[in-house]
C-alpha cells in the first residue's frame, strides 16, 4: 500500500488506432474524439466503433501550467486534464482544457486558459430565452447577469481526448456573463447548437500539480 500513488486516473477502455494500430488508452467513458499519440491521427469514437477522420494539426508546444494526463488540484479538488483545444483569435490564442473531476472522477469540466486568466466551468442545464448568441451585447443585463465579453475563435487543433468532436477551422463563438464576483456563465454557440456553462474565475496561483 505504501508505494501506491495518492491518486490514479482510471483507464476506461483501450482501443487500437485504425491508422497505425497502436494502443490508445481512453480515460473518459464518454470520449468522442481522441488523438493517436503515435501517428497524430484523429480518431472518432462512435458506440463501439472507431473511425479515422484525418490527421490532427500538430500544436506548437506552449508553456502551460497544465499537462495532459497529469492531475492537478484547484482549491483542494482534483482534476485530470485529458484533452485541449487551441483557438486562435488573430494575434494570439487561448486554450480550452478538457478535465475530468468530481467525487468519482467521472465528471466533465472545462478550463479556459488565456494568458494568465483561468476560468473553470462545467455544463449547465439552463434554457435560454433566445437561440441566437448574436442578440447579446456587452454591458447588457439578463436578470442578475451582465454580459462582459463576446468573442470568437477558430479551432487550430487539439490534443488528447475530447467528449465531443471538433474539426480544425471550426468557429467557436462565446459570450461571458458575470454574476458579480468570480461567478460566471458562458454561452457557446456553434452552427447547430448553443451550450451553457457555469463556473468561476480561478486564481492561477491556486492551481497545483499533484506530482512533480
Amino acid at each position: 500500500m505504501k508505494n501506491q500513488p495518492l491518486y490514479q486516473t482510471t483507464i476506461e477502455k483501450t482501443i487500437n488506432c485504425p491508422q497505425c494500430g497502436d494502443e490508445l488508452p481512453i480515460y473518459f467513458k464518454w470520449t468522442k474524439l481522441v488523438e493517436c499519440q503515435s501517428c497524430k491521427s484523429s480518431i472518432f469514437l462512435e458506440d463501439d466503433s472507431v473511425k479515422f477522420i484525418g490527421k490532427a494539426s500538430t500544436l506548437s508546444p506552449e508553456p502551460s501550467l497544465l499537462e495532459l494526463r497529469v492531475p492537478i488540484s484547484i482549491e483542494d479538488k482534483i482534476y485530470t486534464p485529458l484533452g485541449k483545444i487551441r483557438y486562435s483569435y488573430g494575434r494570439g490564442f487561448w486554450e480550452e482544457w478538457f478535465l475530468i473531476g468530481g467525487k468519482h472522477h467521472n465528471l466533465e469540466f472545462w478550463l479556459s486558459v488565456d494568458e494568465g486568466d483561468f476560468v473553470l466551468e462545467s455544463k449547465a442545464n439552463i434554457v435560454l430565452p433566445f437561440k441566437n448568441i448574436e442578440r447579446l451585447s456587452v454591458g447588457k443585463k439578463y436578470g442578475k447577469f451582465v454580459v462582459t465579453e463576446i468573442g470568437e475563435g477558430e479551432c487550430m487543433g487539439f490534443e488528447g481526448e475530447l467528449p465531443e468532436p471538433i474539426a480544425i477551422g471550426d468557429i467557436h463563438k462565446y459570450a461571458h456573463l458575470s454574476e458579480g464576483g468570480s461567478d460566471l456563465m458562458t454561452i457557446e454557440s456553434s452552427s447547430d447548437e448553443i451550450k451553457i456553462f457555469r463556473g468561476n474565475w480561478i486564481d492561477p496561483f491556486s492551481i497545483k500539480r499533484l506530482y512533480g
Binding site: R91, G116, D117, S178, D203
Partner: protein, 435 residues
C-alpha cells in the same frame, strides 16, 4: 512555410523587440520614444521624446522571480499624482507565459506586486464606502480616492496609454503588505490585488546592480505591524505567550506587599497587628546592626493567647513544628516566611540578654508577599523563551516585549538581565556565523 518577421520602428527604423504575449497592444520605440500600435499596421500613435525619464532600478527585459514565478519586465509606465510634483511612481508590466500579466510597482524604494483579480464583486462595491471585502478579507480605505495621470511610457503595454490619461484610484488596505486597488479609467473598472515585497529579494532576483538599489526603510511601527500580521504559527504562539505573560504581570501588579507592622525595638515589647489578606505569604524581616544584639532577642507571635511562632538564637518553630534552622550565630538578621490566617495577632519581643538599649533591632511584618524563588523558574522560562524567538525569528517584537516584561518584573535591575541577554545573543550569533 512560416515566415520570419523582424520589427522596425516606422518612425526611426530602430529595431523593436517584443517580449510580451498576445495581448500586447502597443510598444514604444526605445530610440525615438514613439508609441506604435501593434494592432493597426504599426501606426505611430504619439511620442514621449520630450519627457524626462525618471531614474528607476529596473530595466525592460529584466527577468526575476516574484511569488516563485519567473516574470519578465516588458513595459513601463510612470504615473504622476495630482497633489505634488514629486508624487510619481513607476509600474512595470510583467509577463509570464504561465501566469499572464502582473505589475511590479516601484515608488521611492518600496516595491509591490500587483495582479488583476476577477473575483471581486464590483456589482456590490459602493465607491463611497470606506470598506471592501475580498476573499474573506476586510479592507479599509487607505486614503481618499485620488487621480493620477500617465507621465511616461516605455516598452509594451496591453492597452493604448497616452500622456495625461487619467485614472481614478481607490486604495483599500488590509494590512501593511496587502491591499486592494480599484482603478477606473475611461474604458474600464479594474480591481488589483497588491502585495508589498521585500525589496532586497526583488533586486537580487532581477539582478539589479548594487548602486541602483534603493530600499525604503521601514519605521519601527511598520516593522511591528508587519510582524504582527504574519500569521506564522510560531509568531502566533509567541504573541500568545507575550499576552499571557503580560496578563500575569498585570495580575501580579495588583497584588502588592503590604506592611502590617514595622517597629524599632529597644527592649521587651508587645505589639498587636492584624492580618487582613491571606493570599500568598507573610514575611517577617528582623534586622540588627550586630549579631550580639540580635542574639539577645526572642520574637514570638500569639493568636488568641496561643503562641504559634517563636524564633530566637537557638530555634524556630511554627505551630509546634520546627521550621528548620534559626539564624546562625554570626547573623545580623533573619527573614521568615509564614502563612498566617486572617485575624488579630500579638508580636512579643523579649530581651533575653544584656545588650544595650541604644542600638535598636527592627522588625517588619508584611502580607501578600511572593517569594523571589517563585519567580526564578518563570524568569528562566521567559529568558529562554525570548532568547529562542529573538535568535530564531529575528523579529523586533520579541526583544521589545522582552525588555518591557523585564522592566515590568524587575524594574531597573532588569537592565542587568537585558545586558546579559544581548551579550548572549551576540555570542550565539557570532558562533552561528563562524559555523
Amino acid at each position: 512555410m512560416n515566415r520570419v518577421y523582424s520589427l522596425k520602428c516606422p518612425n526611426c527604423a530602430g529595431a523593436l523587440n517584443l517580449l510580451g504575449g498576445g495581448r500586447v497592444q502597443t510598444t514604444t520605440c526605445p530610440y525615438c520614444k514613439s508609441v506604435i500600435d501593434l494592432n493597426d499596421n504599426y501606426k505611430v500613435l504619439y511620442n514621449f521624446k520630450n519627457s524626462v525619464v525618471p531614474q528607476v532600478p529596473f530595466k525592460l527585459g529584466m527577468s526575476g522571480k516574484v511569488e516563485d514565478v519567473e516574470w519578465t519586465i516588458i513595459g513601463w509606465i510612470v504615473y504622476s499624482g495630482e497633489y505634488a510634483i514629486d508624487d510619481m511612481w513607476s509600474e512595470f508590466l510583467l509577463f509570464s507565459p504561465f501566469y499572464g500579466y502582473g505589475w511590479l510597482i516601484y515608488e521611492k524604494g518600496e516595491i509591490s506586486f500587483s495582479k488583476r483579480v476577477r473575483d471581486f464583486n464590483l456589482q456590490r462595491w459602493n465607491r463611497d464606502s470606506e470598506t471592501a471585502f475580498y476573499q474573506k478579507g476586510h479592507y479599509l480605505l487607505k486614503n481618499e480616492p485620488y487621480n493620477a495621470s500617465v507621465y511616461f511610457v516605455q516598452g509594451e503595454l496591453t492597452w493604448v496609454a497616452k500622456k495625461n490619461d487619467k485614472t481614478r484610484y481607490w486604495d483599500y488596505k488590509k494590512s501593511i503588505n496587502d491591499s486592494l486597488n480599484i482603478e477606473q479609467s475611461k474604458k474600464e473598472l479594474e480591481v488589483y490585488h497588491t502585495k508589498r515585497l521585500n525589496a532586497q529579494e526583488v533586486y537580487n532576483s532581477f539582478g539589479v546592480e548594487k548602486e541602483q538599489q534603493v530600499i525604503k526603510k521601514r519605521t519601527v511601527s511598520e516593522k511591528i505591524e508587519e510582524e504582527l500580521e504574519e500569521g506564522k504559527p510560531l509568531s502566533l504562539y509567541g504573541i500568545m505567550a507575550i499576552g499571557v505573560t503580560l496578563l500575569m504581570l498585570l495580575l501580579l501588579s495588583l497584588i502588592t506587599n503590604r506592611t502590617i507592622l514595622n517597629k524599632e525595638i529597644h527592649t521587651t515589647e508587645t505589639y498587636p497587628f492584624t492580618v487582613e489578606h491571606t493570599s500568598f505569604l507573610n514575611q517577617i524581616t528582623i534586622k540588627s546592626t550586630s549579631h550580639s544584639i540580635l542574639n539577645n532577642y526572642q520574637f514570638s507571635i500569639e493568636k488568641t493567647n496561643k503562641e504559634i511562632f517563636k524564633i530566637n538564637k537557638n530555634r524556630v518553630y511554627f505551630t509546634k513544628h520546627k521550621l528548620g534552622e534559626t539564624w546562625s550565630s554570626n547573623a545580623i538578621g533573619a527573614k521568615v516566611y509564614l502563612r498566617l490566617e486572617r485575624g488579630e495577632y500579638i508580636l512579643k519581643v523579649k530581651k533575653i540578654g544584656k545588650a544595650n538599649n541604644f542600638t535598636p533591632v527592627t522588625i517588619k511584618i508584611e502580607e501578600s508577599v511572593i517569594r523571589n524563588s517563585y519567580f526564578l523558574p518563570l524568569f528562566i522560562f521567559i529568558v529562554l523563551f525570548f532568547l529562542y524567538f529573538i535568535v530564531k525569528q529575528q523579529k523586533l517584537i520579541y526583544p521589545i516585549a522582552f525588555v518591557l516584561i523585564m522592566l515590568g518584573i524587575f524594574g531597573l535591575t532588569s537592565l542587568f538581565f537585558i545586558g546579559l541577554v544581548v551579550l548572549s545573543i551576540a555570542y550565539i550569533t557570532k558562533g552561528s556565523r563562524n559555523d
